[in-house]
Amino acid sequence: MINIIIKDIQILISDWRSVLLTFLLPVILITLFVFAFGGAGKEQGNPVIDLLAYNNDKTFEAENILSRINDLEQLHVIRTGLAEGKELVIKGEQIAILHIKKGFEDSLKAGKKLPLNLIFDQSKPYELGIIKGLIIPQFIEQAIPFKVRAKLGENIPKYMEGINPMIVSSVTQSIENDFMSNQDSMLEGLAPEESSIRTVESRSWGLIQAVAGTAVIMLLFSLVTRGASLLTEKESNTLARIMTVPLKPYHIIYAKFTYGFLLGMVQMIIMFVFASLVFGLDLQTNIAAILLMMIATAFACSSFGLFISVFFTTYQQAEIISIIIILVMSTLGGSMIPIYIMPDFMQQLAVISINYWSIQGFYDIFWRDLGITAVLEKALVLFGIGIILIAIARFFILGSLKRLLQ
């Protein structure tokens, strides 16, 4: 029996592809996920989140609350104008803007509902949850003393006229403490009103993340396979024969690229139409922008497939390495984990992936209702990635073909 075990170990070790997939890939993915969820390093603190703030009250208490929020370790307050802040949230560049309306201090002192509005991008629920969890206690802490005093102020003259002020103070403190330990009852009127930048409630953040994230990752897997068909041509001996027909080597890679691109377009159309018919994804509002992002994504993915094929001599090699690269890119780029829950350095790394630009583009369209001009930058980046990868493939194609035909 032990012979069989040893033999199987020997077979595994002799195949470097299996070793990579069995041992290296899990290690790479664990590393990425640990970084993505911010779990690397015992001493590492939580990420600092930016919160836009527009103070229209401009009173002492309004400035005080913003100062308290800014003093929190996890929040960094950025002052902005209301329209400008909203624009940043709409574009997805910021998560939320806290609007302190006129009359904040008066309402605070009167124990009334606070005129606050938190305008947010609902496509970033994790960060939004952190923001709300941090700012609401600050409002409560600041508001409760005023609220209690206001309540006492109404009742003391009525029921406790002539009572010793020391006793009133002691009772007030005791009531405040009770309120503080039972915050839920005091929340009403203290938490800001919430306004999502989205107006159409039927749109689901989860649907957009699922469709955009899956579309890119599936396209990458599919088109790497198609791009690497140069290697299957070698294995089926047709590559040598193609090299004898009157055709320049570059034409072979352009043909492979074009096929991959067209296939990618059809795949994306099927995926998005399915999501539209079955899950209600809105394809009609920004059809031009959707098409642009589809073309850009298929372009980048197809050129990536071609790029991979140029550097390997067998299909199996290309398959293993591309699985690793695609999983890394997809993790970094937000296909597997929403990018905004990752630490800053991971978010900065994300820009090297095709997934990032594609997913962000589709978010702009489906979630933020932005048009073709807004996604143009992302599309151009994808075209740029594609052109660079094709140029590299073209540069190395002759050497690659030479290697393949040896």
Binding site: S236, N237, T238, A240, R241, M243, T244, V245, P246, L247, K248, K402, L405, Q406
Partner: protein
């Protein structure tokens, strides 16, 4: 006409083709015979333009292949050593695909495909997927693909490996017909009878170069004047030892320490004398083989290796 001028091609420091020069006249059926690793496929790949030589030039009909690659390729039909077809496509789809590269009209191509399908006996299988066909049928399609554009030069790298006799005969007939029509054919094979049957000129290739060439008659005349006795010994033997045993009565050569090749006249008495001399000297004989003066014998005589090693 194909003119090869001192071409060399090296892989990992080892010369696959070593300063090889060759002229193949228009309309010649030119066979290249050589053991595995002799450089035949590399030479074929250089002629077809699949590979570029490290040095030297190849001219096809006066055009330098490396500079006029695309023009040269239009005149060449290539049959690779392995089946080079898309197994998931039908016979017809394959033929249309491969024929589409030569700027021939659809009418020409359709007619050509029909004629070739008739010739290779697969007209009734034109809609079958290639993967459903036998090895011999695939070989026939492999040849048809190379003939689609009616090339002036046909380059074939062992096109009849591992096929049934019926397909082989059919391929031979097609080649004879193409040759008769004036096509220049460069051909490699392991089947010696094919060289004798088909080729005008035979070149014997070893270690990346042509070591002999000419018509079959020329080769016989120049390199294989008599039958050969191949004696395999149990232990290695040196030149002076064998010289002491056989004296000056025989022409012989030692190949690979234990193989003794001795030219003999036909007749058992000569063989008996040689064996007797060896036994008297206590030289242990493992095997004795008489080789007739054929191409295989000639090849062995020139290279010291078996053709199918």
């Amino acid at each position: 006409m194909i003119t090869i001028d001192k071409i060399s091609k090296t892989y990992n420091g080892k010369a696959a083709v070593d300063e090889l020069s060759l002229d193949i006249e228009t309309g010649t059926f030119f066979g290249i015979l050589g053991p595995n690793g002799a450089g035949k496929t590399t030479l074929i790949n250089l002629v077809t333009g699949i590979l570029k030589p490290d040095s030297g030039n190849i001219f096809v009909n006066g055009k330098l292949v490396s500079k006029n690659n695309l023009k040269a390729r239009k005149n060449i039909g290539y049959v690779p050593q392995d089946i080079a077809l898309y197994s998931d496509l039908t016979v017809l789809q394959n033929l249309r695909f491969w024929g589409s590269f030569y700027q021939k009209s659809k009418t020409f191509l359709d007619a050509r495909i029909h004629n070739l399908l008739v010739k290779i006996g697969l007209l009734d299988r034109k809609l079958s997927k290639v993967k459903s066909l036998s090895g011999g049928m695939k070989r026939r399609i492999n040849l048809a693909v190379a003939l689609l554009h009616d090339p002036e030069i046909l380059v074939m790298d062992e096109p009849t490996v591992g096929i049934d006799p019926q397909s082989r005969i059919l391929i031979h007939n097609i080649l004879s017909e193409v040759h008769s029509a004036g096509c220049t054919i460069l051909y490699t094979s392991h089947y010696l009878d094919e060289f004798e049957k088909l080729c005008d000129i035979i070149a014997i290739m070893d270690h990346g170069n042509i070591i002999a060439s000419g018509s079959m008659d020329d080769l016989r005349r120049n390199y294989a004047s008599s039958d050969m006795l191949l004696i395999e010994l149990d232990v290695p033997i040196k030149e002076d030892e064998i010289s002491g045993i056989l004296g000056n009565d025989f022409q012989y050569a030692i190949k690979g320490e234990r193989k003794l090749i001795i030219e003999t006249d036909p007749g058992n008495k000569t063989i008996e004398r040689i064996i007797c001399k060896l036994e008297q000297s206590n030289t242990s004989i493992k095997n004795v083989e008489i080789r007739k003066s054929d191409l295989e014998n000639l090849f062995f005589n020139l290279t010291g290796t078996e053709l199918r090693n």
